[in-house]
Amino acid sequence: MNSSALTNEIEDNIVMSITGLCKSFGKNVVLNDFNLTLKSNQNIVVLGRSGSGKSVLIKCIIGLLKPDRGSISLFNEEVSTLGDEALDQLRAKLGFLFQSNALYDSMTVRENLEFPLRRHWIKYNPTEVDVLIKEALTDVGLLDTIDMMPIALSGGMRKRIALARTLILKPSIILYDEPTTGLDSITSKEIIQLIISIKQKYHTSALIISHDMNCVRMASDLVIILLDGKCYACDTFENLKNAEDQKIKQFFE
């Protein structure tokens, strides 16, 4: 196979496919037959009301929660069948931004960013690690906080550090749980730009959970509306915005 054919194939390669995903907590049915496919170099934004199960969805994807039924396959590997070792290998290709940031509060910003690099402890030497950390911090505009503790940062700064930590290994699929929540509009535009530029630079795919219409408009190739545990609609931003359906309209008002 020559290289251009290979690139073509990667272009419309499906990197993630979810079929019939169900998850409930006791009597609380959160996801009920949810389907989704994510292609390579595609950003999908998931819209849904608070408590509709968006965070649960991406936690199932990364294997922090076990789905009750249904299949999740990443790079053609079924997540539920993987052993610890294989799951770990797979996760190396995934980035996950927690809604709560989940920064290690007993470590400095530098140590926080170093942590994901421990996975490759042989691959990088200390100077390379330093370069990577500084690069990631520069991307989010917080290079001067490198030796601070997370507790000394504002909420928005913490979000950006968490984002830097997610992106430091340049994962192929990135799962963002509300990347712009709690940021002012200028910073949030910068973050959206960062998300877009990462996609262009590294040809990553992303699943973005967001309520921020700017983010939805600018960063999405496709928008999915999560309603009653199902994928209620899946289309481009423009199409959904002009949709007649009352339930879809609510989200764009």
């Binding site: 936690k59 996760r91 995934l94 927690f98 989940a102 920064l103 007993s106 421990r118």
Partner: protein, 256 residues
């Protein structure tokens, strides 16, 4: 009915702790080894509890001597004070008091630390970023408590005995040479070894219970408080249970 539920809950808890311990036993010797974190934990856990353990040990030795004195005097065996105090400190009081103080200080802080990491999803974040949180957090802490408590107990014994020496000298004059000779003459290998071995188990119990309570902390800040509290209560009770078992075992083996 209610009693039944309590018993069931208790048994369930015992089962879960057993499983957690099993997980530790099956994981601790497997790579990857978190040496740096282990050393850091040994430093934090061992070195930082030193002042507290030293102080309580000193007071115990001093007070015990002063309390024993009137009785010993009335039996006319005042000269046996160093021997009696030495045996009781080394066999029982040193290890148990040190372990209890250790449970209060370290058990609660491990419970609270892991509990708040759990609640704020930091443990999940570790898992996602390719570090086994059980190895990184639990194995290192349990090993550190297991290794550090015996060291602390020995130091505490020594400081206690020094306290006892001062206690003896408050009312009379005993030379240091005579005091230490009396202490060491009365102590045999069979006094020291079982007491030393049991401190490993005390340390293990404090570490395992603290980690278990924190690692499975329920959501919310209240859950963190509960974890810290339960860690201290359960590990303190466990220390006494282990102590009880230890004395039975040494008795059976004829080392008592």
């Amino acid at each position: 009915m209610k009693g039944n539920d309590t018993i069931l809950l208790f048994l369930e808890e015992v089962g879960l702790i057993g499983r957690f311990t099993g997980k530790f036993l099956s994981q601790w010797f497997k790579p990857r080894y978190e040496w740096n974190e282990l050393l850091r934990q040994c430093y934090v856990i061992g070195y930082k509890s030193l002042p507290l353990v030293g102080m309580t040990g000193f007071i115990m030795g001093l007070v015990l001597t002063m309390q024993l004195r009137p009785t010993m005097l009335s039996y006319g065996v005042e000269s046996q004070i160093p021997a009696i105090v030495g045996i009781s400190i080394i066999r029982e009081i040193g290890p148990v008091i040190t372990a209890l103080i250790f449970a209060g200080k370290i058990g609660s802080s491990i419970g609270a630390e892991l509990g708040s990491m759990k609640v704020t999803e930091q443990i999940d974040a570790m898992e996602v970023s390719g570090t086994n949180p059980f190895k990184y957090l639990v194995v290192t802490r349990v090993l550190a408590t297991t290794l550090m408590l015996p060291v602390l107990a020995i130091l505490s014994d020594a400081i206690s005995l020094y306290g006892a020496y001062l206690g003896v000298n408050i009312n009379g004059v005993t030379s240091a040479h005579l005091f230490w000779m009396q202490v060491f003459d009365s102590i045999s290998f069979n006094d020291v070894l079982p007491a030393f071995i049991k401190t490993y188990f005390f340390g293990f119990a404090v570490g395992i219970i603290g980690c278990y309570k924190g690692y499975y902390s329920t959501k919310g800040t209240e859950g963190v408080g509960k974890s810290a509290n339960a860690a201290v209560v359960v590990s303190s009770v466990l220390i006494f249970i282990i102590d009880l078992l230890a004395v039975q075992i040494t008795e059976l083996l004829g080392y008592n």
